[in-house]
Structure formats: C-alpha cells, structure tokens
Amino acid sequence: MNRLVLLACVLPTVASAGSVISGHQIADIDAGTGVTVAQEFVVGSDGGTTLTAAQLRWAREDLHLGVRIPYGAYRTPQGRDGSLGNLQIGGYYTVIPTVTVGLEVHANIGEGAWSWTNASSDLWPGAGARAVTQYRSEASGSLTWLARGALGVASARAVDPFPGTRLQFEAAGGLDTAIGDMAGFTTELSLRGWDTSPIDLAGLFRVDPIDGLRVRGGLLLPVGTWVGLSPSQRPAGAREATLMLDVAAYF
C-alpha cells in the first residue's frame, strides 16, 4: 500500500474521465460513456460457477443508459456447461449530484444458465423490473459514502430453490477510502430478499493506472449463505466466496 501511495505522489494526478466510485451492488450506473468487462469466480467446495459480463454505458448530461450481458459457466451432474444469462438494461437520471434514480429490467436471452453467483437475476433464466436509487457523497477528503436501494418484482422458472414470481428489495451501504489519487478501497454490505445470497460483504481494491481506465479486484463473502439464510437446501457453512475482477474504460 505504501508503494501505491508513493506512486500516487510521483506520477501526475490521474482523474478518470467519467469514472465514479462504486461497490459491487452499488454499481457505477451514473458513470460516463464506456465499457466494463467483469469476471466473478465462486470459489470453494460449493464453488464452480463463474460469471463473465460485458457492460456498455452511454451518458449524456444527467441521463445514463446501461446494457449488461452476463455469461455463466457452471457445474452440472454431467460436467460443466455454460450459457448466456439475463440481459440487463437500465435507464437512470441524476436528480442531484449525489442522488441517481432509475429503472432496471432484465430478461433471459440464453438457453438456460441454471446457476447463480451472488445475485438471483444475473444468470438463472428469468425476467423482472425494479426501481433503483443510489447515493454517493464525499464525507471528507478521502472518504466517500455509498448507498443503494431497489424494489421490484422478478419472475423465474420455478425450479428449487427459485420460487417463481417474487418481490425483491435491495439495500446496500458502502464506504470508499481513497489511497492517493489513483487508488482506493471500497467496502460494502448489502441485504437482498428474495435472493439466493441475502447478505453479502464485499471488499474491492481499485486502481486507475491511466486516465479513463479503472481496474478493480476483490472478494465477496456471502455471509448470509454461510449462516444458512440462503433459500437453498445446502446446510449452513463457510464453503464459498467470490473473487471479483473488472476492468472499466471511460471514453
């Protein structure tokens, strides 16, 4: 970490064009036009599912549009399989500099990715819509508070553990600590219901190596699943975590 601080002092200040601070659930929905490629690996004895997602963002003044396409690779009783997940489209409006509201919809475009990482609407075939709002505010020079709330309805093929049509809510809070001008560390706690992973604790390290490019990596701990709150029939126990990597470019 000291090396990074030193690096930040030596190199010219990097200010990524259009980039915003975000967590895992608290997404960069109000960022500038750009593209993000993200990878999630569920590791551990209950792991094996990976998610690769490409996200396109378009922004004009206070309006933002995002399109995200996830692909899942997962285990089955006969080996590994893979499929496109649910296409996710979001439209957002920045009401005031700290608050953004929007509507997100998702619908399946794959043959059936019968798995999930930590969000029920990413891979498992289904459709739904939710209203979202996000908040971001600098608390001090290096601290930024983040929050997200969402409420909606989702429907999926009713194969256990998925119940079919369901109401969904999300609440997430996070804190980002800047490390110089190029890096930072974001922690986030999120609650969701109904969801396959109801309580998640995430930590992400971010670096902006050049202007307009952000690389993040971190770990998500599904503590709700660990303590048996997941709707799955799997018993309680810490048998999985999720590694996360993403690269975002802002134009």
Partner: protein, 253 residues
C-alpha cells in the same frame, strides 16, 4: 362377487386417466414380466420441476441380471417424465434390475429431488413367465386374490399349500370378467386371479403356491407369500411406487 369384479374393472379402466394427475410412478412396476422389447423405462415425477434438457443421466441405471453388466442407454427428460431408452431393444428372455436414484445435488444449481418413495430398485422381465407377486384376502370376501406379473388369457392351475391350516388344494382359475391391469397403451400390465379358499384365511397367514405347467407355460414357482389385507390396487400401486394412485382412482369413480 360379479358386482365387485365389475367395480374392479371400472377401477382398472380409470388407471390411465388418473396418471394425468399429480401422481408419481414408475413403469414397469416391480416384478412385471412380458415387458415389450421396444418399451422405455419411465419415471414420472409429477410435481417436480426440472429445467428443460438438464442432464440427469445417472438418474436411472439398468443391470442385466442374466449376463451381468450395465445396460447402455440414454436418459431423457420430457417435462417431468424421465425415460430410459436402451441403445438396443431389450433382449428376449431377459431379466433386468433397474434403480432410480435421486439426482446428484450440485451447489449453485437446481435442487431436484424425486418424490418420496420413487427411489429404489425394481426388476422386470422380457419373457412370458408369470410370477405371483402378492396375495391378499382384502379383495374379495372368502377368496384369495393373486397379483400376477402379467395378464393371461389362459386358465391357470394353481397348487396351493396353506401352512397354518396344513392342507393343500389344486384350483383351476379361469379368466373372469375383470380386465387385467393394463397401465398404458403399450404396457401389458398386471394380472389378477382369485380362488375361493375352503378354509377361512386371514391377513398374515402364509401360503405356498405354484402355477402348474399348461400349454407353453412351464411350471412357475413355487412362491411363499404372506397374505395381505390390502386390495389389489394398493398392492399394485406399491409396486409402481405410485404416490397418489389409490386416491386418484377414487377420484376417477
């Protein structure tokens, strides 16, 4: 007795209709003979949701009990019905055992569990043999009714030894007005024969019996059976691992 037989025939006729309900079952039933060489093994999992085309290849495994070894075939899922299709038609004069397993559970995947009682091993034969599978005093008053592994249009000559009463009898049992238990269009189903006992027999009594050879049929048996008090439909439902067959038949009436 004729009226009871007619009622039974109606019950049997309703068997197929009942299968459109929420029942789970297997076919062939445990102990069935005269199984068609080109027929699939079927597990109906009514009420269990499974993703389309989700791989369930280990759900059914079949063993050739004559030559030994696993019978190769393909397991396919259509809706909530699983079928095992052998790579080649079943060989004649063959006895096979087949086992239905609960699907392997994968973390972060569909949680598919068979209905209670569906798992387990059953046997069937691609042969003309007739086996007496169960015997009951709960079907017709004063008579012993036998659940047979296949229907037969011929008269059967039974040699029966009743252990408790220490007597034996020979009875020629003719096909009567009752239909046999055909379970589907392509399924021969089960057979039922009844004979009147000269002595009062009760559930729990043991009998030993054999079918004397007639026509092309060699002597079959002997079998030692404990008399049940359940009606034939319940005995057959147990061998089909049918979850709701008795109530479905009642609903069909």
């Amino acid at each position: 007795m004729r009226a009871q037989l007619l009622l039974l025939a109606i019950l049997i006729g309703c068997a197929d209709a009942s299968e459109s309900g929420d029942a789970s079952w297997i076919a062939p039933f445990d102990g069935q003979t005269a199984f068609s060489p080109d027929q699939d093994l079927v597990v109906s999992m009514r009420g269990v949701a499974v993703p389309d085309d989700y791989p369930l290849n280990d759900l059914i495994q079949v063993m050739d009990l004559l030559d030994g070894g696993r019978v190769p075939g393909e397991v396919t899922l259509t809706g909530d019905t699983v079928r095992f299709s052998p790579d080649a038609p079943w060989e004649s004069d063959r006895r096979c055992g087949w086992t239905v397993y609960d699907p392997l559970e994968i973390a972060h995947g569909p949680e598919v569990h068979l209905p209670d009682g569906t798992e387990g091993t059953a046997v069937f034969e691609v042969s003309d043999n007739i086996h007496v599978l169960d015997a009951t005093v709960g079907e017709v008053d004063g008579s012993v009714c036998l659940l047979l592994s296949r229907p037969s249009e011929d008269a059967l000559e039974l040699d029966v030894w009743v252990q408790a009463a220490e007597y034996s009898l020979t009875a020629e049992v003719q096909p009567d007005s009752r239909e046999d238990y055909a379970l589907a269009d392509t399924d021969a189903g089960a057979g039922v024969r009844c004979f009147e006992s000269p002595e009062a027999l009760a559930a729990g009594d043991a009998i030993r019996l054999q079918i004397a050879g007639t026509g092309d049929l060699f002597t079959q048996g002997p079998w030692r059976l404990e008399l049940s008090e359940a009606p034939i439909v319940e005995l057959l439902a147990a061998r089909r691992r049918a979850s709701l067959i008795p109530s479905a038949w009642e609903a069909g009436l």
